[in-house]
Symmetry: C2
Subunit: 229 residues, 2 copies
């Protein structure tokens, strides 16, 4: 292909883009520079760039020059479901069991995260079941300054999360996903072996500036959190 | 509190909502039914429900009755970043190394996912490094019917993912997050011990109806994928 035809120039520039000469989103040379480099007219370069723009390789702005098409950000709308919904959507019967519940000083890292200082907080362990098999194990601390009524709450059939969702408006949260090794007690409760790899979700929620609750979910081996992008 | 005042009725209904008598989003009884149950006027019930609506416990629609406020869906805009960006955003120097690359028949599960049938596919192993320390290990299969030019591609400094992003428009993908146990080869490459719990991301992408690539990333112990909701 002749490097001076608009097709030839299009292919030459395409090859340079694919080879990584410029970062995604980076400005590439202008018509004048390419015309000089390929010893052709600006019109020819313009036609080549226009063709690359039409096939989505580059983006052209009237005054902004031409950029390598930035990464088409694969973004996911990741909805954090209620465990009850997750289980019921998969056709299972949901139930939860409170394994431990007490009022205590939180460990330092938790006290800092919940901003409870020297004050006691509510601690709750819940085993979530799908068709009576362990679905997830939850440990949760609740800031009693933010939700004093939790201390006396009768959760009944509700999980602590469902109770909180009904009681405290949600403003914002932080989530961290990671992997953890199953240790004695958690391995037992999830019915798995010590040392198994567990998918783990940490979540802290705030009401305005006040931390309300921080929790960790451990899922049994084999759990997958799936979503579309 | 007198159960026949609007305040008393408001508190009574609130307690029933918090106790889980109705599902989130579920229709609760109408004014007529509550008025009968609490032996008061519809106006009084109306005032009570209005107050609950104002504080966000319920939602009222002119003709649709009153529902328990549905779950304020905690939704995350989870962006799937390029590994290069993840590393550079954290202030590290990014580099990647191709550990293995060949053309071969994919294992059955992969061949089915990529719809490659009996045809060979490209296989690639890449170690992603941050400041020369293992950041993630990637195994990837590429459908050569969808991206024939990959067979001969000179990746240079680019990761396969970056090359693909530049070459093939992205239409949709599926992601699954899970935890896996580090096995011999992967443990070695990530510089961790066998049996460690590794955060794992599987991703398959399509161009229109054609599967392009499917990959798995293993992150070393301690990695956390964090986002806000």
């Amino acid at each position: 292909m002749n490097a001076r035809t608009h097709r030839g120039i299009r292919e030459a520039i395409r090859a340079r883009i694919v080879a990584g000469e410029w970062q995604l989103g980076e400005l590439i040379p202008g018509e004048v520079e390419f015309a000089e480099e390929y010893a052709c007219s600006r019109t020819t370069v313009n036609r080549a760039l226009q063709a690359l723009a039409e096939e989505g390789m580059v983006e052209r702005k009237r005054k902004g020059g031409t950029r390598v098409r930035p990464l088409p950000l694969p973004q996911a709308q990741l909805r954090i479901p209620l465990l009850r919904e997750q289980v019921e959507d998969a056709g299972g019967a949901y139930r939860c069991e409170v394994v431990d519940r007490r009022i205590a000083r939180a460990p330092d890292a938790i006290a800092e995260r919940l901003d409870t200082g020297e004050a006691k907080a509510a601690y709750l362990e819940t085993l979530h079941l799908a068709d009576e098999r362990p679905f997830a194990f939850e440990t949760r601390w609740i800031n009693l300054a933010a939700v004093p009524q939790f201390a006396e709450a009768d959760l009944g059939e509700l999980s602590a999360n469902e109770w909180l969702v009904r009681t405290v408006p949600f403003t914002r949260g932080e989530v961290a996903l990671s992997a953890a090794t199953a240790e004695g007690r958690i391995a037992d409760l999830l019915g798995t072996e010590e040392g198994a790899a567990l998918f783990t979700m940490d979540r802290t929620t705030w009401l305005d500036d006040h931390p309300v609750t921080t929790m960790r979910l451990h899922y049994p081996p084999g759990y997958r959190l799936e979503f579309a992008i």
